[in-house]
């Protein structure tokens, strides 16, 4: 398993009322998108692993936004921030905070929507396409300028996800010990004795994250 990661470590604030940690799968690398993204003129796209890794620094500190209809981006509705990103296997995983107090409707949607119904979408600028005549565009270089939370069916990549940690953890869930992990709209599942915010299937990540906590900027 190859893991490449970056993180921005924010000061921890106990009981912060406006930070709701989230984790998500932003996209998949080296795989064609399920549908053609907007702006790709009808072409499906492949974001190469190399391009994704090179663009990771541009992703940190970028905002997550949402559209009221949950079907796309709205750059003027920035409801959170990405603080961590890594490429693990075919997934580009992210974590960060939602501004839960400022955007209660977003948190409500996460908790009341159907489990697993929410996904994510990236926004890229200055992308370089290997061959624009190809049926599927291969993106070899890009800069992340933002991300959005949206319905999975509206995302160009079907296998994305967005999960909100619960109860509201006052710090980033990847660094602390939340009581459990809630999928979008799901009932809370508590894991007794859990050490991290990762679900049961992600326990294998725990040693890596413990090491990362000790050295947040290690790649």
């Amino acid at each position: 398993m190859k893991l490449e990661a970056m993180a921005v470590r924010l000061p921890e604030v106990t009981d912060h009322p406006n930070r709701a940690p989230f984790t998500g799968v932003l996209t998949r690398v080296d795989e064609p998108s399920t549908k053609a993204p907007s702006g790709a003129r009808g072409h499906r796209v492949i974001l190469t692993r190399a391009a994704a890794l090179a663009a990771l620094p541009s992703l940190l500190g970028m905002a997550v936004d949402y559209a009221p209809s949950w079907d796309g981006h709205d750059a003027r509705r920035k409801c959170g921030i990405i603080t961590q990103a890594d490429v693990e296997g075919p997934e580009l995983q992210v974590a960060g905070y939602l501004f839960a107090k400022d955007f209660p409707e977003v948190e409500r949607q996460m908790r009341q929507g159907l489990p697993g119904s929410m996904g994510m979408s990236w926004e890229l600028a200055d992308a370089h396409v290997e061959d624009m005549r190809a049926e599927i565009w291969t993106l070899t270089r890009a800069t992340f300028t933002g991300a959005a939370i949206l319905l999975r069916e509206k995302a160009a990549y079907r296998h994305t996800s967005f999960e909100l940690a619960a109860p509201r953890c006052r710090s980033n869930g990847w660094h602390e010990r939340p009581a459990g992990l809630v999928h979008a709209g799901a009932i809370r599942h508590f894991r007794e004795g859990a050490d991290t915010a990762f679900g049961r299937t992600d326990r294998r990540k725990e040693p890596i994250w413990k090491a990362r906590v000790a050295s947040p900027w290690a790649r």
Binding site: A36, V45, L124, A127, H128, T145
Partner: protein, 141 residues
Amino acid sequence: MESQSGEPLGALTQSMERMEARLEAAAALFERTAAMLEERENERSGEVRKIVAAVETGRETDLQRKLEAAEQQIAELRAQMETHGKSPRKTVPAATAQFLAKQGIALESVEAGTLDAALNGLSLEQRIAVKAQLLRAGALG
């Protein structure tokens, strides 16, 4: 206010305004054409300014359709412009044409001296307006 020949000044002003609006529209079309050419240049180099990993919504599809229609309109206008470039345009606003007809001037052969004499009864502003219209129409060399 009316000119000595009975032509309402308002009609001339209105036709000038219409012409101004058409010129503005043409300028906007040229700007869009320039943007389109820039995009084509980017295509050759493989650069894409913005991609969003969300499926296009109905609004975007609608905008795309409108853009295609606008591009088609630009192509048609270009073709028209090329055609008009070969033979000078001989259309002037109806009010001006009527005024000139009353003075016995045919649009196909407007002579500077005859025109000056015909416009003698008009105010300076009206004379300028009529000459400007004739110049734009290509009727006055």
